[in-house]
């Protein structure tokens, strides 16, 4: 059977790819996190929170060219991934009593195997192992659909929305993001490049356990050469994740104790450089983002 790569087939494939890794990973991640007391959960999850926030704040623009009045309707499918280096793979944790209370380096959710602590008792020894990492990866990905509409008085609206209903073990997931971009170059009579400013807010809720929020404000610049657009920007950003669960471990807290954490992503500023290819109504993008973490982003768009 031949598969024709028509638009609906492409959209379906990418949509499925968005969901599948999350589906298989979700139960395992939840089980791992529920074993952690709040102190260790923070260290274990911090790189995940940072990567998640950095991803959400990526891929929001691919040009600074916004006309004063005109029609822009563009649907983008954007994939982004935060690079995971050695620094994101370990954190310092304190083992439970009766083990020595010195902090040791052990695996984060992106790390390898958890550190094993031993203690000699009589002629035997007892050991405790910290939770193992759950992802074996050099980048943590996310993919989102994005709709850009405008242009009204040099302004575009950008919307991200993914509603996924609860399916078996996969929890109900909702991403909503909204932002506006405004042309700055329209106020400057002679300028060889396009300049725009933007502000975005997004929220992502995964079941009852994870709620992530992100905000960014930035400035972009771009220059088009025939079908190619070079773009870049500077962006201040913040992200946070609320993690809520009932502790299922056995030590330090009573099993079933509710744990609520709010963690902030480490990425607060980024510089972006990217390249776009515009073929009539089809657009391709790729960019790199440099801040506390490095994010690469790519995608394709359809529209005017």
């Amino acid at each position: 059977m031949r598969i024709k790569f028509t638009l609906p087939v492409i959209l379906g494939l990418i949509w499925a790819l968005m969901i599948l890794p999350t589906h298989s990973a979700n139960a395992q991640i939840e089980d791992a996190v529920k074993q952690l007391t709040s102190d260790n959960a923070k260290g274990y999850l911090q790189p995940f929170v940072t990567a998640f926030g950095a991803n959400m704040n990526s891929g929001l623009y691919h040009s600074a060219d916004i006309s004063d009045m005109g029609l822009t309707i563009k649907f983008d499918l954007i994939a982004m991934g935060t690079l995971i280096g050695d620094g994101e793979k370990t954190y310092k944790a304190v083992p439970p009593l009766p083990f020595d209370q010195s902090a040791v380096n052990t695996a984060t959710i992106f790390g390898g195997t958890g550190t094993v602590i031993t203690k000699t008792v009589g002629a035997d020894s007892i050991e405790y192992q910290f939770q193992n990492g759950q992802f074996k990866t050099t980048l943590y990905p996310l993919a989102v659909p994005q709709l850009t509409i405008g242009d009204v008085f040099g302004t575009q609206a950008v919307i991200r929305y993914i509603p996924i209903p609860e399916i078996k073990d996969f929890p109900k997931t909702t991403l909503f993001g909204i932002g506006v971009r405004h042309s700055v170059s329209q106020y400057i009579p002679v300028i060889p490049v396009d300049v725009a400013g933007s502000v975005f807010y997004q929220s992502l809720k995964i079941g009852d356990m994870f709620t992530a929020k992100s905000f960014n404000i930035g400035a972009q610049v771009s220059k088009s050469f025939a079908v190619v657009t070079l773009y870049g920007g500077l962006q201040y950003e913040s992200s946070s994740m609320d993690v809520s669960y009932d502790y299922s471990g056995k030590y330090g807290l009573l099993t079933g104790t509710p744990v609520k954490l709010t963690m902030d992503g480490d990425n607060t500023f980024r510089a972006t450089i990217g390249l776009g290819l515009n073929l009539a109504i089809l657009h391709f993008y790729a960019d790199a983002n440099f801040g506390n973490v490095t994010v690469i982003s790519g995608g394709l768009g359809f529209g005017l």
Binding site: K4, F5, I10, L13, I14, L17, L20, P21, S24, A25, Q28, D31, A32, Q35, A79, G81, P96, L97, P98, G112, T113, G114, K119, V121, G122, A123, D124, I126, E127, Y128, Q129, F130, Q131, N132, G133, Q134, F135, K136, T137, T138, L139, Y140, P141, A143, S248, G249, K250, Y251, L279, L282, F284, G298, L300
Partner: protein, 181 residues
Amino acid sequence: MKTNLASLFIVLILTGWFLTGCEMTDNPLILDSSISASTWIDIPATPPVVAQIPPTLELDTKALREVTGDNIEKINFYNFTLTADSILTTTGTFSGYITIDDDTLAILSGLSPADIKKEHSIFSEITGVEIRNSGLGTLLHAVKTPPATPLQVKIFMAPETVAPVKFKLILKVYSQIHAKS
């Protein structure tokens, strides 16, 4: 045609990215597991002789494995704790020992219920608790290879002072289960 090829190219890149870029590890999930048993310790001021506190308690180490339905790759014991709950006397101290399947696990001397009011590991270096290798070996083996019948735990105690001692003693065994789905 060119558009379809370009679309296919992008889809393949994204497919490769998602399938190879972020896979779950094959590391086992580590799950905490515990079992416990409790009894009232009620020893009068006299006579000050060491006697078994009835009843004999049972610790079924098979139950440690019930936290998961997944394949258990490994199980390790990491703690045994004592907790004095519902302390009804405040001045008395006690001595004695705890056996597991008739092997002595810990010798207790001159402890006050208040010393273990907060959950206390027998492996913490505290005055008044000494570990015995025979009982520890039995416990370690029973956690790794659960016997068909539960471990029989006996508590022998006597008051150290003229004051009576009455509290609920909770014994707890902790392990970690390494499970693979």
